[in-house]
Symmetry: C2
Subunit: 333 residues, 2 copies
């Protein structure tokens, strides 16, 4: 383990993984790495889901959303992909001295609107203020509580031939946020995909018993999230590069600047692994929603021996994909 925290420890890739494993999981004893997604706990004999996330995105207002909308949607999605119905949210604000109250009002309004839309209730809050220069505007933590519904959920059991679905184009959030910072010197008409997916994913679980797992590919992008699934469940996944949906503008910026869309952050996309015979049904359900209109199958489970993610290129060659390693960009969520 390194001696000092670097930005790469926060980008959701290999170093984040090691930081969590080496510093947190050991100390918290009973914990396992799954605690860094939604955790299942028992309370008064009911199984509930709990998740926490801090939002430090820069800029706080970006095309397609704000830190407020993101702080609700991000935590709602963590619960939704775990198969739980999001019910309650808490919010903790760390505000920099001098922050405009008008901006704070807008952020809080965005949170309230997104909460209303998704049906979650914000039940507890906290505000702290730090001196000028001790934060960058505002940071928000949201913690979510969800309930699992009877006879609904993800089996977490995989078969060869299972389909890997992504609910839409990838990389929109990463590119929207990066270009909104103005540092790259380019402007692209791309909105963040920031959206709450709970209604859509609930519909999938209501109508399909074949869902193996759902995940939201945020920090670290599609590739890192798939590698995590592959390693956690010791399955070999193969995705076809040509099938992965990427907007032309996102491709353009990536080509220009040397980014890989597979590692760009998303804030309104789900990965769904589903039994082969249910794939079309799930795709149809997803496409009924605006958030899922570009849903497609991008790959399959091809083995159950090795925890590995393979990418098949348009030329037919295959290569192993790893977690994001090294800083791609900080402060994207």
């Amino acid at each position: 383990m390194e001696k000092f925290i670097s930005l790469a420890h926060g980008d959701g890739g290999e170093l984040s993984h090691r930081l969590i494993r080496d510093v947190f999981i050991n100390a918290f004893g009973d914990g396992n790495e799954a605690m860094f997604d939604a955790a299942s706990v028992i309370i008064s004999n009911s199984k509930i889901a709990v998740t926490t996330d801090s939002f430090v995105i820069k800029p706080i207002f970006f095309p397609g959303g704000s830190i407020g909308k993101l702080a609700v949607a991000g935590t709602v999605n963590d619960l939704a992909v775990s198969g739980a119905k999001p019910v309650y949210l808490t919010c903790g604000f760390i505000i920099e001295e001098g922050f405009p109250v008008a901006d704070l009002r807008q952020i809080v309004l965005d949170m309230a609107n997104e909460a209303r839309k998704t049906g979650v209730v914000i039940v507890a809050g906290d505000t702290k203020v730090v001196e000028r220069g001790s934060a960058d505007g505002v940071y928000i933590n949201t913690t979510g509580i969800g309930v699992y519904q009877p006879n609904m959920g993800c089996s977490l059991e995989f078969e060869e031939g299972d389909a890997i679905i992504v609910s839409g184009t990838i990389g929109d959030h990463g590119i929207a946020v990066l270009t909104a910072r103005g540092e790259l010197g380019i402007t692209v008409p791309i909105n963040s995909d920031c959206a709450s997916l709970n209604t859509m994913l609930d519909e999938v679980l209501q109508h399909s018993k074949g869902v193996r797992i759902m995940r939201d590919p945020t920090r670290g992008g599609l590739a890192t999230t798939l590698v995590e699934i592959a390693e956690d469940f010791n399955i070999t996944m193969k995705i076809n590069e040509i099938d992965v949906p990427v907007k032309g503008e996102v491709h353009g910026v990536c080509d220009l600047l040397g980014f890989d869309p597979l590692y760009l952050a998303n804030e309104g996309k789900a990965i769904i692994v589903v039994a082969e015979n249910e794939r079309n049904k799930v795709i149809d359900i997803l496409r009924e929603f605006p958030e899922g209109e570009n849903a497609v199958v991008i790959g399959t489970i091809i083995g159950k021996e090795k925890g590995q993610l393979l990418l098949e290129t348009p030329l037919g060659s295959k290569r192993i994909l790893n977690r994001l390693s090294g800083t791609m960009f900080p402060r994207i969520c």
Copy 2:
């Protein structure tokens, strides 16, 4: 409402009160100000308590504790004073680039130890890293979930003659943290009172049916917390200055620098309002614990018409106390 956030908006006094009321409560609709303490929610037909708190204390290691110990004890206490048994905790870290990993390990260890001591399980976590200069070392959010126990709790109904108890000396945390910063140019042998009170308060509730309310006088201190109770329940409370326990060293620093101990932060103290005929029993229970060995009655409820806190001075004169107004000190929790 002001146009920009100032440090005083974060000190737990009058401006914090207005910020929460004007910006948050309105937007979150169903919310009320109680959401900024532990909230009661129903999940799968069970009533549970939820609370959230961000910790931005400076310095992160201080005499008697660290931000890690505080982040557990603070949230455990929020649940405990609401009458709930703390069960689960989440933790969200915002870490500044360059932060020493050894310090992070120590903080995480302090959290793990305090969690073990109090019997709560840390079930979910998150880490974010921000650039050098965009945070001050590390900030931690903890969100706590607790369960209410059958036939145990606070009545929230008050009678004239009810006793106001404080579980020990006040102001220790504020003075310990302030002097630890080294800015005041004085050193005082005072430790923070930072401690989890759940076991002690559980014992009180187990054995007394006369408890009206319990609160932890953190930011804003004893006076602000009592004013909040008085206003929320429209009761007149009177405390006797001479009965309020304050350590000699704390008095000394206050006299030297013009602070009022009644407004200094505490992180291991509880205020308990209890029926007159139960006061001695509750005091006896508190004194069985090291955290409660200096528990005393400091005042009484003297009326039910006006939400007001009165201080009776040693000379017998009375004055109205208000919430803390203006910055006392930021970053004390």
